[in-house]
């Protein structure tokens, strides 16, 4: 049995440090999701507008944010805005901005999809009952779209958590960075630490994301 470097995980506070690093990434994902959901709902409603200019602008925003790799967006905000606007932005703030912008686009598209999947006669019947357009949304359309949206939004959380691992690349100290530090510190005593530590990181992410995915799938089946 080769030395798998698992002992390093149980030395001192190493496991706690890894989890602390994970929390940095999860915190950013949660803030971004919390901001993306209301903004995305708003964007989704705006996107169903018939105004061609509004349509074009939202469409371009959506396509650009979705087609660019998230890492490119992080680079643009983190390095680009510093150069162009002359401010100093922390990696954490840049991440929150990028993931909120991305999440809003994804959520907006989901909301738009859910809204246009509501048959037209729902709107017409509501109008025939002389509901105002605000009333139509609150009492008729939103209750029907929410069921469709909840599983998809939960999925967005796992995607967000997985994608925030990228913040390592703009120098935020998160779980991978902590893992590197631990491996580096134990280089002499435990040369195979890389195996144990990266395996642990992989499993931590899995343990975090898997239940959320299962929940989303269950809800999708139940309400789908």
């Amino acid at each position: 049995m080769p030395d798998l470097g698992l002992d390093v995980l149980f030395k001192g506070k190493n496991m706690l440090r890894l989890l602390g690093g994970l929390w940095t990434a999860v915190e950013i994902s949660l803030i971004a999701v919390a901001l993306s959901i209301p903004l995305g709902i708003l964007l989704g409603i705006i996107m169903t507008s018939k105004n061609p200019i509004v349509k074009a602008v939202t469409r371009i925003y959506l396509e650009f944010v979705r087609i660019m790799p998230q890492l490119v967006l992080l680079f643009i905000v983190f390095f680009g805005s510093t150069g162009a606007l002359g401010w100093n932005i922390s990696g954490e703030l840049a991440s929150v901005i990028v993931f909120t912008a991305w999440g809003t686009a994804e959520m907006g598209d989901l909301v738009r999809g859910a809204l246009i999947s509501i048959p037209k006669h729902q709107y017409e019947s509501a109008a025939a009952l002389s509901l105002t357009s605000a009333q139509t949304y609150i009492y008729v359309i939103i209750p029907q779209t929410v069921r469709r949206l909840i599983p998809l939004s939960i999925n967005l959380i796992t995607r967000m958590i997985k994608t925030t691992s990228l913040i390592l690349m703009i120098g935020v100290v998160e779980v991978l960075k902590v893992a590197q530090q631990i491996i580096e510190a134990n280089r002499m005593t435990s040369p195979n630490a890389a195996f144990g530590v990266y395996l642990a990181v992989l499993l931590i992410y899995f343990i975090l994301c898997w239940p959320i995915s299962l929940l989303a799938r269950r809800l999708e089946k139940k309400w789908g």
Partner: protein, 219 residues
Amino acid sequence: MNWDFIWKYLPMYGEAALLTVKIGLAGIGIAIPVGFFCAVIQYFKVALLRRIVSVYIEISRNTPLLIQLFFIYYALPKIGIPTNPSVCGVAGLAFLGGSYMAEAFRSGLEAVETVQMESALSLGLKRGQALLYVILPQAVSVSVPAFVANIIFLLKETSVFSAVSLMDLMFTAKDLIGQYYKTTESLFMLVVFYMIILLPVSILGSVLERRVRRAGFGS
């Protein structure tokens, strides 16, 4: 915007983009058959293999590519599996992509009604034949949109390759920013090159989707 700078480093970006595309295509090229076999195993509910496939799919879908790459690149050599940046990139992308492709094929296969399989069997076709001539042609057209979305997703994911020291577009951009402080120019080229790679796939995707919808059977 310093155009001389852009001109000068254009070939460097071109090479990096080529590397991104090469490794991306190799990874996707492996991911497609992997996904296909996984989906077929799940469709026919092959004992044991089916369990292995579902464990693979869950692990691959619920961990980030960056972590998978770190594991392949830094951890596997410790237990005697040697690797190098390109192999690691292809393997990581194939590992991630396989599960996404499997889900795309699976949703296509499930969309074909069971009566199709039963009719094929009652006509005396073998299960393999039924799959090949009856089920697949219908399933593929259903899974095309998910399939193209996965290709775009996987090409986007290649942006993390610089973490395992592949000199891809991100690596080049970061390198130039660090060396010359030409941030705007470096990022501009980065965006342009990703557009060149991803926009055609995205457009092709929407064209295909429209075509396939027309080819749909019975609806």
